[in-house]
Structures are given as structure tokens and as C-alpha cells.
């Protein structure tokens, strides 16, 4: 249960988000849609329910970043005709079978 206290909370990591806003040259209203405190708190509440230890987040971020390009490149495959897989079935037997 002690781990729950360390669970990820958006309100403890808002620093970098604010810095990002300061670094932009455009006015705030052009770069970000206004987000109400209430909405932020609501998002924070939802995220805090994710059972993740803060100390694992930097590693998770590195792992996600390392795969992000690859995940985006999946769009290069022609997936329009592929049905979403909701049930995974074993492949069918090769028509020629074992020799």
C-alpha cells in the first residue's frame, strides 16, 4: 500500500509543461487551447489511478520514445483492408502440409 502514495500524479510533474509554454515565442492562446483547472484536476485524478511508480516513468518514457517512430511507421503498411483483430486465431494449415 505504501506504493500508492508514490503513484504517478500529473500535478507533481507540471513544471516541464509550464516551461514549454515559456519557451514558445507565440502567445499562449495560439499554442495551447485553454485548459481549466477543473479539467487538469480531473485528468490528474484519472492518471493517479494508473498503478505506476514515479521512479519507473523515466525508463518507461525512454522505452516508449525508442519505439514511437516504429509505431508511427506502421501506417506505411496498407492496413485499410485488414480487419481489426479482436480474436486471435491460430493460422490455417499450409495447403501443401508437411512433406
Amino acid at each position: 500500500m505504501a506504493r500508492c502514495a508514490l503513484a504517478f500524479r500529473l500535478d507533481t510533474t507540471t513544471g516541464p509543461l509550464l516551461k514549454y509554454m515559456l519557451l514558445t515565442t507565440q502567445p499562449q492562446e495560439e499554442t495551447m487551447a485553454p485548459i481549466s483547472t477543473q479539467l487538469l484536476q480531473s485528468i490528474s485524478q484519472e492518471l493517479s489511478r494508473i498503478p505506476t511508480d514515479q521512479e519507473d516513468l523515466p525508463i518507461a518514457a525512454v522505452q516508449l520514445n525508442a519505439q514511437m517512430d516504429g509505431l508511427l511507421r506502421l501506417d506505411d503498411l496498407n492496413l485499410l483492408n485488414v480487419e481489426p483483430a479482436t480474436v486471435l486465431l491460430p493460422p490455417s494449415e499450409d495447403s501443401r502440409g508437411a512433406r
Binding site: Q67, L74, V82, L88
Partner: protein, 472 residues
């Protein structure tokens, strides 16, 4: 014959002697237990050794055979299971602290099938925690050692299976393979490992890592022994809806047909990029040897295969985190740091990414299938590198730096994504004395051809007759 000599017999050799009653299953089991007692402290291959139970089972087996009830080539053969296969009355830790005292009340289907074939269970084998990693590094039970160099990992996640088979601490073992976890330790430890077709072998009663990518497969010292174990394991299981109702052929009968007339492919992209030069040379030399034996070899193109890595990532992270969600909420501190961080990653993979990965998987699978209409099987290295040192985190090769997990799984995980059968066979040693694995990938449910090619190659392989250095 000395006790250690008995443990060097292949399953086929020992089985033949047991059938002729020139070898006692009790004597053979004692030989393995004796060796485990002397050497497991060095190799850390076993988490649990079932000494009394194994002797009792061997004794019963001996009486059965004496009465004329010989069950087949696994009858009286001492084997071991990766410690994620459920065993009734025997603790099943999954290499974790969380399950360190868990004693299942039922056996997994594969344990039942091996038991019914007459195999003797020696114990439960070490592994990467919850099968979530290709090195075998384990903070809870110690890391199993590579019998060829104790300063190096045996590969994972079936690390204990690889180490135990290579060091003759069992005649054969079971591993599981979600991104290469049978084939990677097989390659790094210089043994044979088979990931069968998805749906060929039941996963009922096996703790999952990622449901849609998990496979159970045998690990042995010869291809013929892998065929014997697969024979006992394969087939539809009502307890596992993912198993297919496809006829199981006589794998051993197909072994000796040779490779004359077969066509094998070499896919140059992905599998042959950024390789340790010694690995590249050994695999290309293996292709040449198969050509010398009468097979034809041709290059094939698999342009979509590089997408398999991202698809595999999204599927493994999402499915494994879904499975572990309960423990993450209540016992997160008991996970090893590397596995907990990987499970944390899964919390942030989007459902859309997961579904896209599953759809991509069908496209990749179709491409590999199409290539396998032009060739009977294709060859790749099993791993681009030989066994890394225990504390290796990253490796740089050809100016490219990558996490060691990425290096080890590059050639194996695409085949989990497609579900085709894939065999790793030893094909050489580096100048430093480390084994190199050749991966042979075949058509769905055509393990027979994959084994046939592996068996033909094994007879001429530079690894023929090579054993790891004995423990001093």
C-alpha cells in the same frame, strides 16, 4: 559407463537403451541428480530440484517397463520445466518473488503430456522474472550462467532451460517463447530450441507473458530429441482455445529425408543488418553447407518485416501489463526493477497502437506466408550477437548503440509476430568459444520440414561433437 557419461546421452540414445532394458531409468535419474547436486550452485539453472519425487517416479517407471509397459522414447527420460509451467503440488515461482511460495493445484497441459509419455520431472528451471526479458538476469534467484562462459548470460527468458540442457543437468527441457525466449537461450548456450507454430502446442496451465505471442517449445541437445519432445507435446487441447485441430505428423520419420530438392531462402534485410561478423560468417557458411547437401539457396525479400519490432513492442507491453495489473496495484515493490519498469511502459501504450499492431501483424504474416510459397523455409541468425557479459546493458556494433534486449530479440521476435515455426540450431563457435545459432523458419504447422533441415545441417555442423567446458 560413468555417471557423467550417462548424462551426455541424447534422449534418443538413452531412450533406446531404456527400451532394450540396458539402461535403468533410476540409474539415469540418479546420474542427473548427482550432477545437479554438484553443479547447480555454479550454474543456478534450477530453482527447485525434486530429488525424492524424481527417484520415486523413475522407480515406478522401471517397474512399468519391466512389466512390458514401455510407453515410447520419452519413457524414463529425466527432463525439467521452466518454472512457469504449473505443476501440481510443486511450487511454481515464474522466477518471481511474488509467486515464491505458490503451489498450484493442477498441472499445465504440457506437464501432463510429458508425464503421460513417461518423462521423469527433475525440477523447475530458472528464468527471467515472469519471462519478461531476453537475458535471464534474475534479481530474486540469481542469474543462471552460460555453461560456455560463466561470466556471460545464458539468454532468456528460458535461461535455466538453456543452461541446464547445455550443461547436461537434464536431458531436455521446456521453455516458452514470446519474443525469442526459447531460441535465444538455445543459440547462446549451443543447444537446439524450437518455437512451434502458434496453436501447435497448448499453453493451458502456463503463466502467460503476452497471450497472442506466447509459445511453448522444447529445448534439447539434438534436433532428433526436439522432434521426440514435440511429438509428445503437439496437438489440440480443449483447455487452450488457441490450439489448432491440425493433424500431428510423425516428426521423427521425416528427419532423415535429407535436404536434396528443398529450397531455402535468405532474407537479407533486417536479419543480416548490423551483425557480429563471426555470426554473419557462421550463418552464411551454414547456408553453403546446406547447398552442398543438395538444397538450393535463394535470396528472398521481406520488406515489411522491419515493422514487426514495433508491432511486437505494442502487443507485448499492452498484453503483459493487462495480465499484471492486479499485482501492480498491490505488490509492485516485489517486482525486479527492470520488469516493473517494462510493465509501467505498458500503461502508456494506447489501445489504438495495440490494435494497429495486431492489424500490422496480419500484413507481415501474409508477406512471410507469400515468401514461403517460393521457398520451403528460410535461414537467419538466431541472434545478431553471441552471449553478452552478465552486466551488459547496451552494445555498439557498426556505430549503432542499442539496448542489449533489442540486440538479442531482433531476429526472433518477428517470428512470434507471424506465428511461423522456427528452430534454432548451433552452427559454430566464435573465436572466443561462444556458440552461434542458426534460425530456420518454416511454413505453418510444417515443423517437420524445419526439423528435417536442422537435422541434416546438424550432421555436418562445425558444432558437431562440441561440448561446453566442464566445471572444474
Amino acid at each position: 559407463m560413468g555417471l557423467d557419461d550417462l548424462t551426455r546421452l541424447s534422449i534418443a540414445e538413452a531412450g533406446d537403451q531404456i527400451r532394450r532394458r540396458s539402461l535403468s531409468p533410476v540409474e539415469l535419474t540418479r546420474a542427473y541428480l548427482n550432477r545437479i547436486q554438484r553443479m547447480n550452485g555454479e550454474f543456478l539453472a534450477y530453482i527447485t530440484v525434486l530429488e525424492e519425487r524424481a527417484i520415486a517416479a523413475a522407480s515406478t517407471t522401471e517397474q512399468e517397463i519391466a512389466r512390458g509397459n514401455y510407453r515410447g522414447p520419452l519413457h524414463g527420460i529425466p527432463i525439467a520445466l521452466k518454472d512457469l509451467v504449473l505443476t501440481r503440488g510443486v511450487r511454481t515461482t515464474c522466477g518471481s518473488r511474488i509467486l515464491k511460495d505458490w503451489v498450484p493445484s493442477a498441472d499445465g497441459t504440457v506437464a501432463i503430456r510429458l508425464h503421460e509419455a513417461g518423462a521423469i520431472l527433475l525440477g523447475k528451471l530458472n528464468m527471467h522474472e515472469f519471462a519478461y526479458g531476453p537475458t535471464g538476469v534474475n534479481p530474486h534467484y540469481g542469474t543462471a550462467r552460460n555453461p560456455w562462459d560463466h561470466a556471460r548470460v545464458p539468454g532468456g527468458s528460458s535461461s535455466g532451460s538453456g543452461a541446464a540442457v547445455a550443461a547436461s543437468l537434464c536431458a531436455g527441457a521446456l521453455g516458452t517463447d514470446t519474443g525469442g525466449s526459447v531460441r535465444i537461450p538455445a543459440a547462446l548456450c549451443g543447444i537446439v530450441g524450437l518455437k512451434p507454430t502458434y496453436g501447435r502446442v497448448s499453453r493451458a496451465g502456463v503463466i502467460p507473458l503476452a497471450w497472442s505471442l506466447d509459445h511453448v517449445g522444447p529445448m534439447t541437445r539434438t534436433v532428433a530429441d526436439t522432434a521426440l519432445m514435440l511429438q509428445a507435446l503437439a496437438g489440440r487441447d480443449p483447455a487452450d482455445p488457441s490450439t489448432a485441430d491440425v493433424a500431428v505428423p510423425d516428426y521423427r520419420a521425416a528427419l532423415d529425408k535429407g535436404v536434396r530438392g528443398l529450397c531455402v531462402g535468405l532474407p537479407r534485410n533486417l536479419f543480416f543488418e548490423r551483425l557480429d561478423p563471426e555470426v554473419r560468417n557462421a550463418v552464411l557458411a551454414a547456408a553453403q553447407l546446406l547447398e552442398d547437401l543438395g538444397a538450393s539457396v535463394q535470396e528472398i525479400a521481406l520488406p515489411a518485416i522491419p515493422h514487426a519490432s514495433a508491432a511486437s513492442f505494442a502487443i507485448i507491453t499492452a498484453e503483459s501489463t493487462a495480465y499484471h495489473e492486479g499485482y501492480l496495484k498491490t505488490r509492485a515493490a516485489e517486482y525486479g526493477a527492470d520488469v516493473r519498469a517494462r510493465l509501467a511502459t505498458g500503461q502508456f501504450v494506447l489501445a489504438t497502437q495495440y490494435l494497429k499492431a495486431q492489424r500490422a501483424r496480419h500484413a507481415i504474416r501474409a508477406e512471410v506466408d507469400a515468401a514461403l510459397t517460393r521457398v520451403d523455409a528460410f535461414l537467419t541468425p538466431t541472434t545478431p550477437i553471441p552471449a553478452p557479459l552478465l552486466d551488459t546493458r547496451e552494445l555498439t556494433l557498426d556505430g549503432h548503440t542499442e539496448d542489449v534486449r533489442g540486440w538479442l530479440t531482433r531476429c526472433t521476435r518477428p517470428i512470434n509476430v507471424t506465428g511461423h515455426p522456427a528452430l534454432s540450431v548451433p552452427c559454430g563457435l566464435t573465436a572466443g568459444g561462444l556458440p552461434i545459432g542458426l534460425q530456420i523458419v518454416g511454413r505453418y504447422f510444417d515443423e517437420a520440414t524445419v526439423l528435417r533441415i536442422g537435422h541434416a545441417f546438424e550432421a555436418v555442423s562445425p558444432m558437431k561433437g562440441r561440448w561446453p567446458p566442464e566445471v572444474a
